[in-house]
């Protein structure tokens, strides 16, 4: 579904991604883990071109999206993104946050977009907060709304950039539950996270990143039980 070839990214002299070649298959749940500064987030952000790759190509369902002539907006519609800091629009109500893109980008009618938004909002248990503003919600609620906002565009892939890292510990569960449900429904997901439990339970494949490369990848069971590289072993020893 997403094919990454020879991806490199440098900020000035600072090389963050050295050479990444990877393929993400439809319906697959890929969990990206690794120490901070290893390039996990940059890799994820390159996938929907929030960061412009320095070199390499990214192909989405046969279209080279790194080609400057390709329409990034079209491509981003099919790829939902959830941020560490939620990035809800604070000047709009929850409902408006959810319907803005569907009405403006997909050209949906207002009531049609609202019906869809309310249905999804109900599924994460926040239907009663539709008229609130983001600042009136807790962190966990904000992140659930942010997931729904991405889902309202009916994406084919969901990208999660450390979705639980900015949350109070007691709110992590409610967000992970939503993500697990999403995984069960068959969504293709790429998740950067520090939640090892989630990686084990939901992931089809774990990518261990270190120093701008994918150092090791395996099924979660294999990776957590028998890490191959020394770096992965010491990383797991610290986090588990």
């Amino acid at each position: 579904m997403i094919d990454v070839k020879g991806l490199k990214k440098a900020f000035g002299d600072h090389v963050v991604l050295k050479d990444i070649t990877e393929h993400i298959y439809p319906g697959e749940k890929v969990v990206v883990i690794g120490p901070s500064g290893s390039g996990k987030s940059t890799f994820l952000r390159c996938l929907n071109l929030l960061e412009t790759p320095t070199a390499g190509t990214i192909t989405f369902k046969g279209t080279d999206i790194t080609d400057p002539k390709s329409d990034i907006n079209k491509y981003r519609q099919k790829m939902g993104m959830v941020f560490q800091h939620f990035n809800l629009f604070p000047h709009m109500t929850i409902l408006r946050n959810l319907t803005l893109a569907p009405t403006q980008v997909l050209g949906k009618k207002k009531d049609e977009a609202e019906a869809k938004a309310m249905e999804l909002l109900g599924r994460v248990g926040l239907a009663d907060r539709a008229g609130s503003y983001p600042n009136q919600l807790s962190g966990g609620q904000k992140q659930r709304v942010a997931i729904v906002r991405a889902l309202c565009m009916e994406p084919e892939v969901m990208l999660f950039d450390e979705p639980t890292s900015a949350l109070d510990p007691e709110m992590v569960g409610e967000v992970l539950d939503v993500m697990k449900q999403l995984a069960k429904d068959g969504m293709t997901m790429v998740v950067v996270t520090h939640e090892m439990g989630f990686a084990k339970e939901v992931g089809d494949r774990v990518l261990f990143m270190e120093d701008g490369i994918i150092m090791e990848q395996n099924t979660p069971t294999e990776f957590f039980d028998h890490p191959q590289t020394e770096r992965a072993q010491s990383f797991l020893a610290k986090v588990l």
Partner: protein, 255 residues
């Protein structure tokens, strides 16, 4: 007792022989009532408002265009190069540098006595000069507002498939507007008061009226105090309107 009659009586006596209150009254009467001079202030006030509105429109339009061009240039996709945008950005930078780097009054005198030396419409030339000046400051205020917003906001917009323009329109600009409203209000107050400077190129606003009345009566205290009060009332009224707007925009901050 009728004020006209009182003035009639007092004006027979030489000014030195009047007591403090009588002389104060005589001076005020000359600065305000005599020959319907109060009309002059209000004519001047009307011109002041007219100039402010014209300059405001020019300033905001210029400011928005310049800010948009500069932000679009600064935030373009890395690696892409747009020669038109670069050229526009360069012109905008020169404009802001020159306007901010020279005194307002010098700019007005260059406008009035050099560029439009042959024009008799001093008021409009003044308004144009003020508008061009204000545009540079407004553009910097707007640019500051656009740049200060968390980049995550536009990233979220773009990640949903909204275009750059749509992201600006629905997400960045509404939030930036709220953030810059106090500085924008401040700039408008400065603009309103700076209209007094067009009197140096013979724009017939309040200060011009006050000065000509003073020249006739040889007494400047009341004309200038009256002028000051008129500005103060206008600025206070404007500040009040601004605070209402700010309160309405704060709705989403409720917790």
């Amino acid at each position: 007792m009728n004020v006209d009659l009182l003035y009639e009586t007092l004006s027979q006596i030489p000014l030195e022989d009047l007591n403090f209150w009588q002389s104060l009254f005589t001076k005020f009467y000359r600065a305000w009532f005599l020959e319907d001079r109060w009309l002059k202030y209000f004519e001047g006030l009307l011109t002041t408002i007219e100039v402010t509105v014209i300059a405001l429109i020019i300033g905001v339009v210029l400011g928005v265009l310049v800010a948009m061009a500069r932000v679009a240039h600064d935030q373009r996709r890395p690696g892409t190069h747009n020669p038109v945008l670069s050229a526009v950005n360069f012109v905008c930078k020169i404009y802001v540098t020159v306007i901010r780097g020279t005194p307002m009054m010098v700019q007005l005198m260059i406008m009035g006595f050099v560029i439009f030396a042959s024009s008799r419409n001093f008021t409009l030339v003044g308004a144009l000069g003020l508008g061009i000046n204000s545009g540079a400051y407004v553009s910097e205020i707007i640019r500051g507002g656009l740049m200060s917003l968390d980049p995550g906001q536009s990233e979220a917009g773009r990640s949903l498939g909204l275009s750059y323009i749509q992201t600006m329109r629905f997400i960045v600009i509404p939030q930036a507007f709220k953030a810059i409203l106090p500085s924008l209000g401040n700039e408008f107050i400065v603009l309103l008061k700076d209209t007094s400077l067009i009197s140096v190129i013979a724009g017939k606003e309040i200060v011009y009226a006050a000065r000509s009345i003073g020249a006739k009566t040889y007494e400047y205290m009341f004309p200038y105090v009256i002028t000051a009060i008129m500005y103060l009332i206008m600025v206070m009224a404007f500040s009040y309107l601004q605070s209402i707007l700010e309160r309405r925009l704060r709705e989403s901050d409720r917790r």
